[in-house]
């Protein structure tokens, strides 16, 4: 009896220890970036242009570039992903064919981002001749996070009870009226949260934009979607690995990392905020 309880305790403490060590790692990374990054942050750093190949000056073009890419990605991926999810959960009959589509989507979520980068290079940059541009980069990132958005949206739609649909149909609503008025509003928080988390991931990706959108240094800010942009993750990658004086410009690297981190965390907060707000409105 006693040994059984001891075994229980050991397992419990082991799990607790593992969980804490994971949290500890994350806390260490965050703290490290925060401590080393904060001194680099200044008004000039956030709003200025890079100088001396990024060794001095600011990172404003990279911040702007990343924001533009994120907006472009949202504009493409959100509607596509949501409508696909609506089709798959509400309209498509359960068949071998839709099962295959689902499998393909899940598999796509596991494809390495560099492969999406190469795909974007082949299709958007070269074949469709968008060149290395915001458009090509956004489309590539959109392809990459589509699976995440579709799966998250499907889950959110499936979580809306069947009786909501039946109740609406029984009142003489058409299928689309039912989805639009009595399913989507309740599924929205879940759909948006899942999607924004996916978009946060896209904002931090380097490999896809490396091949389709990003330049290390541009003298001018972009003026159209066919322009190349600078981007935070790529800027950081160059500063950390390709710069001749990589060791000397550590503060610039930390500063860039911190800004990127804040951007992603900010996006996640938007997701949480949206979720709480809409949940409050539609509680069942």
């Amino acid at each position: 009896m006693k040994s059984k309880r001891t075994g229980d305790k050991i397992v419990f403490w082991m799990m607790r220890g593992i969980t804490y060590s994971v949290v500890l790692f994350i806390a260490y990374i965050l703290l490290d970036i925060l401590l080393h990054g904060l001194p680099a942050i200044s008004w000039e750093f956030l709003t200025g242009d890079p100088e001396k190949s990024g060794a001095e000056g600011g990172i404003f073009p990279a911040i702007l570039g990343t924001l533009l890419l994120v907006v472009g990605t949202i504009a493409v991926a959100l509607p596509l992903g949501m409508f696909s999810a609506i089709y798959l959960t509400e309209y498509a009959k359960q068949s071998k064919f839709t099962q295959t589509i689902r499998m393909a989507i899940v598999t796509l979520a596991g494809v390495p981002s560099i492969v999406f980068g190469l795909f974007g290079l082949g299709l958007f940059v070269i074949t469709l001749d968008f060149g290395s541009s915001i458009l090509a980069g956004s489309l590539t990132l959109a392809c990459m996070i589509l699976p995440t958005i579709i799966v998250a949206s499907e889950e959110a739609l499936k979580a809306v009870p069947k009786y909501m649909r039946e109740g609406s149909l029984a009142l003489g609503a058409t299928k689309w009226e039912t989805i639009y008025k009595n399913v989507l509003p309740y599924a929205m928080p879940g759909m948006l949260t899942g999607s924004i988390l996916g978009i946060g991931r896209a904002a931090g990706e380097t490999a896809p934009i490396l091949l389709t959108a990003a330049a290390f240094f541009l003298p001018e800010l972009p003026t159209s979607v066919f322009d190349q942009v600078m981007a935070l993750p790529y800027h950081l990658y160059i500063l950390a690995t390709q710069h001749p004086e990589a060791q000397k410009i550590l503060p610039m690297q930390y500063g860039t990392a911190l800004v990127l981190l804040f951007l992603v965390i900010g996006l996640n907060f938007v997701a949480i905020f949206l979720r709480i707000r809409v949940r409050k409105k539609y509680k069942w």
């Binding site: 009959k93 109740g167 029984a170 009142l171 003489g172 539609y282």
Partner: protein, 258 residues
Amino acid sequence: MAELFSENNVKVHVREMNFFYGQVQALFNINIDIPEKQVTAFIGPSGCGKSTFLRTLNRMNDIIDGTRIEGKVMIDGSDIYNPMTDVVALRKKVGMIFQKSNPFPKSIFDNIAYGPRLHGVKDKNSLMEIVETCLVKSALWDEVKDRLDKSAMGLSGGQQQRLCIARALAINPDVVLMDEPASALDPKSTLKIEDLVNELKKDYTIIIVTHNMQQAGRVSDYTAFFYEGRLIEYGATGQIFTKPNVKQTEDYITGRFG
């Protein structure tokens, strides 16, 4: 069945109807005439097909993949399974109350206004009028008139079910289908629903599926007994409950099985 009521009063007319879930046949050769502005109860043990039959009357089974129907189902003399039939118009005419009350997570007002809005009523005053009339009809007005803008999810189970009745009435149906509307409610709320059914039959044809034989006895004018997908016996409620013609009906009603 002609002896039950005059032919002129037939609202729902079903002949040689078979119903399938995929390969499984759920209803066998159903023939029944249901009278207008009366309460007809469907009784029978679980799985006997009474709910399935009810759901064929507003084509709610259409939304289940792989279902199939044969035979004739007429309401007011027109075949509701005719390819030309507008399902939306049918469901507007044949309202439905579900077993589990299913208010939408919206305000009480918006719940009842949901149907009318779908069918083109936009004016706030007309909507208000509809909401009030329906809540009065469903005996809920006095309890909720001060909190129409509050969420329907805050109502009690019995109130929610009456709200669902009000919501169904708001689209002005002819026929109201009720699928065990009181099975999840306490006795007091159940009685309220039963009173309501008695009240509503002045204006509506009511078809109610119930597990509860006392309930069928209390509220209905006609009773149909289903067993294993077949309509075993159908007649005036008094006759079914006092001298059923078929042995199975008697066994069920006296509680020997089911």
